[in-house]
Amino acid sequence: MSEDVAAKRCLIEVNNLWTRFGDHIVHKDVSLSVDRGEVLSLVGGSGSGKTTLLRQMMGLETPSAGEVKVFGVSLQHSDADEVQRIRNRWGVLFQQGALFSALTVYDNIALPLRELGTVDEDLIRELVLLKLQMVGIEGAHGAKMPSDLSGGMVKRVALARALALEPELLFLDEPTAGLDPDRSESFVSLIEDLRRELELTVVMVTHDLDTLISLSNRVAVLCDQHIVAIGPLAEVVKNSHRFICNFFQGERGKRALTAVHEALVR
């Protein structure tokens, strides 16, 4: 298989990345790649730099050393136009939703489409209503302001906005944080359905074991400035690293894993 084919399959490449905040080293020589069509979860303790790594992949932060390539374009060494062009190919769901509080739900989703400047208002309306329908929100809520929405609805609207430009790549930062178990269950299955339907590649940061288990193909564990394990969940769980043991073999981890196992057997 030629290198070219491998590069096409690989959407995100992180090469020898270092992050320093003053004297504090967050990432030490981290390398990682995300393939087309997979769901990669970043796991790690608080302060282990998961969110920082995610933000570096979106180009919101620049690593101290090393390179991040998305769609084969280096975020550090490419000109602004090229980076701008790939920005439309990914969508981001921020932890708090990051909806524009001065715009209605409808306008929030319509904004990226209007920003293109080529889509007529008629098509924008159809697309916005379609996205709202996809995330399970009635069109009548379109006129509401973000401050009038519940936490779960904010996440759904934010997801609809992230999908507005039909991205190939979706970044999720704590997709289920702050949702009740029922809501997070349905949100997870919503993401799973959309992922399958739209053939999305997903990179996600999560603390929630249920989300992790039900969504991800591969898991990368960040600990002590390194990626200590990466691979399918079943393999990572067997790793004997201290953090992984605590994370998955702790009371909560066991419970979640058993539940999954039972579900699989059934």
């Binding site: 096409k8 769609f71 084969g72 374009v73 280096s74 490419s78 090229e82 062009r85 439309n88 190919r89 524009f100 509080s101 001065a102 409808y106 293109l116 080529t118 889509v119 007529d120 008629d122 098509l123 309306r125 159809e126 697309l127 209503l129 379609l130 996205k131 329908q133 996809m134 009635e138 069109g139 009548a140 379109g142 006129a143 302001m145 973000p146 401050s147 430009l165 039909e166 339907e197 739209l198």
Partner: protein, 389 residues
């Protein structure tokens, strides 16, 4: 007929980006069979630049209801592409359609009836409603302001009885921020205004040979009017806006609610210290501004009229009755109270969204400056016979 567009050579030459293929449509006529073949990626990113063009062409082709649509050549399809076709077909599936099985789901999702957005209701009574809302809104403002003042009086009198509970650190921090940090800007503005005023007056006075009256003119106008009003405007812009924005952000981030549930009243912790510190620092800033403005005026007078500094300083107390100074300082205490109260009033009304934060801060500064000028006019009328000969 063909609408094939060659792939952009420029894009192909860049090894880093994937070659961009264009969405294509081609009409194939073989005997009675009239087919329209679509191929390439029909996704938003590829369609974007030719959207208007394509949608017109599609509408043209869709007029013939019996046309056969062949979408098997479409490599990639997304909702935008599907919606474009769907719209051309008049909100329904084309009668004769062949497409890849993986694209079937995209179209089946479209056929579900989507709820329309409720359109904005037009009503001839709207101007009346807006007017009514403004009147009610103004009443709300007044009521809330009165309530705020009342609450501060209650809290203040409580603090007088228990002086130990006074938020001393907040007050001193407020004096530092609103007073000490404002010294540079007020000095600059005061100095320049003093020079300009003195220079322009000197030119007029020279023609009458009334040079010596420059001291009376500058002394009274700066100490009684200009100093307090100038300083109040600067402080309203500087400290008033920051107070409003601070309270507004605390509302947005739910910090105000956090204080409420801890049983810490906003008025004692946040508002009272601001009001007291501005009431204390305002006369100090005004005294400073007046001093610097007079120095500026003195320099210009020496320069333009040849009045020596010693004469200026010697004549000043004789020319300006001391009552003017007390009036100026007294006014400035009132200005300080007003600016802080208005800033806090608007800060507490801010709703948890960014637009409200911006407009609230603007309203606060505009109202504060307007009120300063109105109150200044009221003072001028009330004390018209004070401090004159």
């Amino acid at each position: 007929m063909s609408f094939d567009t060659p792939v952009h050579a420029g894009r192909m030459s860049q090894p880093n980006t994937t070659p961009r293929l264009e969405p294509q449509l081609r009409q194939v006529t073989a005997g009675a069979d009239d087919r329209l073949e679509l191929s390439g990626p029909w996704i938003l990113r590829a369609l974007e630049e030719r959207l208007a063009d394509l949608s017109r062409q599609l509408a043209e082709y869709a007029r013939d209801a019996n046309r056969h649509w062949d979408l098997t050549g479409v490599t990639r399809l997304d909702h935008a592409g599907a919606m474009l076709l769907w719209r051309a077909w008049g909100g329904q599936r084309a009668a004769h359609l062949t497409l890849r099985p993986e694209h079937e789901a995209l179209f089946s999702g479209l056929s579900v009836h989507r709820q329309r957005l409720p359109g904005p209701a037009r009503d001839w009574r709207e101007p009346l409603v807006v007017l009514g809302e403004q009147v009610v809104g103004f009443r709300d403002h007044v009521l809330q302001f009165v309530r705020l003042v009342g609450q501060i009086v209650i809290d203040g009198s409580r603090l007088l009885r228990h002086p130990g509970e006074a938020p001393a650190r907040e007050i001193s921090a407020g004096i530092y921020r609103a007073g000490a940090q404002a010294l540079a800007i007020t000095a600059l503005v005061g100095f320049l205004v003093g020079i300009v005023l003195s220079y322009l007056s000197a030119q007029q006075l020279k023609t009458f040979g009334a040079d010596i009256f420059i001291i009376n003119l500058l002394g009274v106008s700066i100490i009684r009017e200009l100093g307090p009003v100038l300083a109040a405007m600067l402080v309203a812009g500087r400290s008033g806006s920051s107070m409003t924005a601070q309270l507004g952000v605390m509302r947005v981030t739910e910090e105000l609610d956090a204080m409420t549930v801890m049983g810490i009243p906003h008025t004692t912790r946040l508002i009272l210290p601001k009001v007291i510190s501005l009431a204390i620092s305002m006369p100090l800033v005004v005294a400073w501004t007046c001093t610097v403005a007079l120095i500026g005026g003195m320099i210009a007078a020496q320069w333009e009229l040849g009045i020596p500094y010693s004469l200026f300083l010697q004549r000043l107390p004789e020319a300006v009755p001391i009552a003017n100074l007390w009036l100026g300082l007294g006014k400035s205490v009132v200005f300080g109270l007003l600016i802080a109260l208005i800033a806090c009033h608007f800060g507490l009304r801010i709703e948890p969204n960014t637009e409200s934060l911006g407009s609230g801060t603007t309203d606060s500064v505009v109202t504060a400056i307007t009120m300063v000028i109105i109150v200044d006019a009221a003072f001028a009328v009330m004390f018209s016979d004070v401090g004159t000969f």
